[in-house]
């Protein structure tokens, strides 16, 4: 087994999860839960691929993906912020809406090839033994964008004024309102930004990391994993990145386990028994659940958890305000 290749590919595929999860973190930090990540990613993947295919310019495709994800999220924002509908229901419908839109508009794209976002090697950093080839050599540019997003998002949320307002709106909107923060505007903004990130994550699949359009197999449930990752990460970008990469590595590892006839000098059970492979494929999900349970008990002790107002519509002038 080629460990460097496993980690390389884990970081690559993890980047998709990372981008989507960071977008969802920003949305949820404002108190809006958007379960439509899968749908928004699919629309983003489709839009990115289609525009890149038709114009021949991958950067236009990337912009189209961001805009498509953002636009779709505004539907969710309108329904849950303005009309105060149930966020779970609206998020689920958004997934269906997004999937349907992407399949209809993406008709005929299957099997086509479009330009792809280039890869690059970072000088000097790629010379570091082990870490260099894994993290800094011949990666897609979006992987490096992912590296930047982690610290920037963390800094933005925790150390800036707009980040302070974002946290206040998600934790105690009534308090933020009495201090003159516009709750509705803030929530619209971050729902939109979350949608943009999901669209970008979709494009990161279709025009960058695993190029191509394979209808709804393009995203293949990664939107849901990103939503779970947000919880696993306790709404913290660093942990979301860690979780994303961990999941990517695990998935690649279980794939590689099925390859060789011999494993540690013994007959590889995963090669000979196809039923065992199903269990192997479950493992990343199972491990994520275990990490989630373990993480949530640790979080309770440290008092980090979901934003207090997550999923609760805000209305001024309720009794007790």
């Amino acid at each position: 087994m080629n460990w460097i290749e496993i980690f390389r590919s884990g970081i690559s595929t993890g980047t998709v999860l990372l981008i989507a999860a960071i977008g969802e973190i920003l949305t949820e930090r404002s108190g809006i839960q958007n379960l439509g990540v899968e749908g928004m990613m699919l629309v983003g993947a489709m839009a990115g691929f289609k525009v890149a295919f038709q114009t021949g310019n991958v950067w236009l495709g990337l912009l189209a993906a961001i805009a498509a994800g953002g636009l779709l999220s505004l539907a969710h924002a309108l329904v849950v912020i303005h009309f105060q509908a149930d966020q779970t229901v609206s998020g689920l419908s958004l997934t269906f809406l997004g999937t349907g839109l992407a399949l209809v508009l993406g008709d005929g794209l299957t099997g086509q090839t479009a330009p792809v976002i280039p890869s690059a090697t970072i000088p000097l950093l790629s010379q570091i033994p082990y870490l260099g080839p894994v993290a800094f050599a011949n990666h897609n540019l979006l992987v490096y964008l992912g590296y930047l997003l982690m610290p920037l998002t963390w800094y933005y949320i925790n150390k800036t004024r707009p980040g302070l307002h974002l946290r206040a709106v998600g934790e105690n909107p009534a308090a933020a309102d009495t201090l003159g923060v516009n709750i509705y505007r803030t929530r619209y903004l971050y729902t939109f930004i979350g949608g943009c990130f999901a669209g970008l994550a979709g494009a990161a699949i279709s025009v960058a990391i695993a190029p191509g359009w394979y209808s709804n197999l393009t995203v293949n449930g990664q939107g849901w994993i990103a939503v779970a990752l947000v919880i696993f990460a306790h709404w913290n970008p660093w942990r979301a990145a860690l979780g994303g990469y961990l999941f990517g590595v695990l998935r690649r590892f279980t794939l590689d386990l099925q390859g060789p006839r011999l494993l540690f000098g013994l007959a590889n059970p995963f090669f000979f028994n196809t039923n065992l492979v199903f269990f192997l494929q479950m493992a990343p999900y199972l491990l994520t659940i275990i990490a989630l349970i373990w993480g949530s008990s640790a979080a309770r002790r440290k008092r980090i958890g979901s934003p207090a107002a997550l999923g609760v519509p805000y209305q001024r002038g309720e009794r007790g305000l």
């Binding site: 302070l164 934790e171 105690n172 009534a174 933020a176």
Partner: protein, 601 residues
């Protein structure tokens, strides 16, 4: 009161003819409110009288339908809280508006335009602590809100306003959530701020407190002003109360003498664990008779809640609980209810009612399965509404209709709703926990009257309260609890606040010092001498330490002249608190109300 009115000064706040109508309620009806810089202005009224609404108009949360607001002589119109903040108006809400997992400084910075982008908390931590020092407020700016006590959280709220440069502060029932010594500290802080020229509106329904804090007074009743900018010393407690309620309030309840009848409730060797699986009740024996009110006194957390819960079937226990000859220990609540149990819980919103359901639904909660409301498997909502409507009138519940959601009721009306449900089932036993806590004088009076009427009708009442005055006024006997034990039971003829205070700290009745009965405090409900209680504690424990004033311990036989005591609300109440022993603190918390009254007299 150091404040002197300067008639030529421009009022800090001038609200004229403010009218605000909510669906079904006229919350403010042509209300005038004027306040000058440097004064503490009390806004007094019952729950739902429109005090908070008026102040929310001033902070820009509500827009009045008519009326005019002038701030420092300039006419203003607020569209959002931001406009009010810009005009130097800040409000400390009754329910704190704080973000729990952010630091003090972060909470203060929310909504401000500086810092522009990067927070640079260190610099602002320093600014916050400088500001806190200026007003003598102690707070750690880097602490997270959830790490702070309620009193400290309130200080953060005040700092939040001060940081915005506010010179008009609105305090919405600020002492309701505070322990007595925290309240003293707050009052000292407020007085200090008024001395620095701030205008402070102090919303309250506690009469004693208002007399202690405020310079001027405006009283609201049902949305109207009944007294505008009055001087406080013109009023007595009674005249204030009648202005608030609109009629005479009887502070001394009339309780007819009657002999207790046969036994209704008996607890035999009852023990139970609390939520942390620690013993909360230890071998409790109690008996309660027809037409008798048994008061349970004790510092909060000494097993009173658990006692109520085992009787009402909400908590498993060992031992026997006999209600009308049937053992109700560890039985489901429905069984005890069928045996004539009524429960008035401490938590009105969480336990006593279903806040999102209508008045009707809340009323029928105990009898939805009985005629005439239940028809086989259907509910007769017409019959239910009729029943609820009748009870709404009988118990004088102020609400637009029986379809109104329970959460829209004020505290007093919600309690009346609970009483209506519980008492209309003609109970044999009423278990009431803190039935008047947080209510205004008018509501307290009606709740107490209702309980006394039930007593006359032969109902047995177990009354748990932290308000000793209430226990002394209502109870036929008082049982004192300490660490899960019933320390002793006292009959009404022997009621003595000193003795009860000592028992609340764990002193057994037979161990009480013999001097105590001779220094018996005055009749229940009137002024009681808290200082003598403290001195007895010291004497009895033979604690050889300085008294709060730094003087040697006084022998109980000598009466302490009131002048030697440091005055309450004086310059350094916190320094004085530091000298208190744990036991004194406990007693002081319990008897705080009496202590204040004693000082005023």
């Amino acid at each position: 009161m150091t404040f002197k009115e300067t008639p030529d000064a421009v009022p800090a706040v001038e609200m004229q003819d403010i009218t605000l109508r909510f669906p079904g309620v006229l919350a403010n009806d042509h209300v005038n409110f004027t306040m000058y810089p440097g004064e503490i202005h009390a806004l007094l009224g019952e729950n739902g009288a429109g005090k908070s609404t008026l102040m929310n108009v001033l902070t820009g949360l509500y827009k009045p339908q008519s009326g005019e607001i002038r701030i420092h002589g300039k006419k203003v119109s607020f569209n959002s809280p931001k406009d009010a903040i810009a005009n130097g108006i800040g409000m400390v809400h009754q329910h704190f508006m704080l973000v729990e997992n952010q630091t003090v400084t972060e909470n203060i910075l929310i909504g401000l335009d500086t810092p522009r982008f990067a927070l640079n908390l260190k610099k602002y931590d320093q600014e916050v602590s400088d500001l806190a020092d200026q007003f003598g407020i102690h707070i750690d700016p880097t602490a997270k809100i959830w790490q702070l006590s309620v009193g400290e959280q309130q200080r953060v709220e005040i700092l939040k306003i001060l940081y915005r440069g506010a010179d008009i502060l609105i305090m919405d029932e600020p002492t309701a959530v505070l322990a007595p010594q925290e309240a003293d500290e707050l009052i000292a802080t407020l007085k200090g701020m008024a001395a620095q020229g701030k205008a402070i509106a102090f919303i309250s329904h506690k009469l004693a407190e208002v007399k202690q804090v405020a310079d001027k007074l405006t009283v609201l009743r049902r949305g109207r002003v009944t007294a505008e900018r009055m001087d406080l010393h013109d009023f007595t407690r009674e005249s204030l109360a009648s202005l608030m309620v609109g009629r005479e309030v009887i502070f001394n309840l009339h309780k007819c003498d009657q002999d207790p009848g046969r036994e209704v409730l008996r607890l035999e060797d009852v023990s139970a664990l609390n939520n942390k699986n620690l013993p909360a009740l230890r071998n409790v024996d109690l008996a309660l008779h027809e037409g008798e009110i048994l008061g349970i006194a004790g510092v909060a957390g000494n097993g009173q809640s658990e006692l109520v819960e085992v009787i009402t079937g909400l908590r498993p226990c060992t031992g026997n609980i006999w209600l009308e000859g049937k053992n109700i220990a560890n039985k489901p609540p429905a069984f005890s209810i069928s045996q004539g149990l009524a429960h008035i819980p401490e938590d009105r919103i969480g336990v006593g009612s279903a806040p999102n359901l209508s008045l009707t639904s809340n009323i029928i909660m105990k009898r939805y399965d009985q005629e005439p409301i239940s028809h086989n498997w259907q509910l007769d909502y017409v019959a239910a509404d009729t029943l609820a409507g009748g009870l709404k009138d009988e118990y004088d519940i102020q609400a637009p209709s029986v379809q109104t959601q329970a959460r829209k009721l004020s505290g007093g009306n919600l309690q009346k709703l609970i009483l209506a449900r519980e008492l209309s089932s003609t109970p044999r036993l009423i278990v009431a926990m803190q039935p008047t806590r947080g209510l205004d004088v008018g509501a307290i009076e009606s709740v107490q009257q209702l309980l006394l009427r039930q007593r006359e009708q032969g109902c047995a009442i177990l009354l748990v309260s932290e308000d000793l005055d209430e226990l002394l006024a209502l109870s036929d006997r008082i049982a004192v609890m300490y660490e899960g034990h019933v320390v002793g039971t006292i009959c009404s003829a022997d009621f003595d606040i000193t003795k009860i205070g000592l028992m609340m700290t764990g002193t057994l009745p037979q161990d009480l010092p013999p001097e105590v009965p001779e220094l018996k405090s005055p009749a229940p409900g009137s002024v009681s001498d808290f200082d003598s209680v403290l001195d007895h504690v010291k004497d009895f424990e033979q604690i050889e330490q300085a008294s709060p004033a730094g003087q040697p311990v006084v022998i109980p036989e000598e009466e302490i002249p009131p002048s030697e005591e440091p005055s309450r609300g004086g310059s350094s109440p916190s320094a004085q608190d530091l000298n208190l022993s744990e036991k004194e603190r406990v007693l002081r918390k319990v008897l705080g109300e009496n202590y204040n009254k004693g000082d005023e007299a």
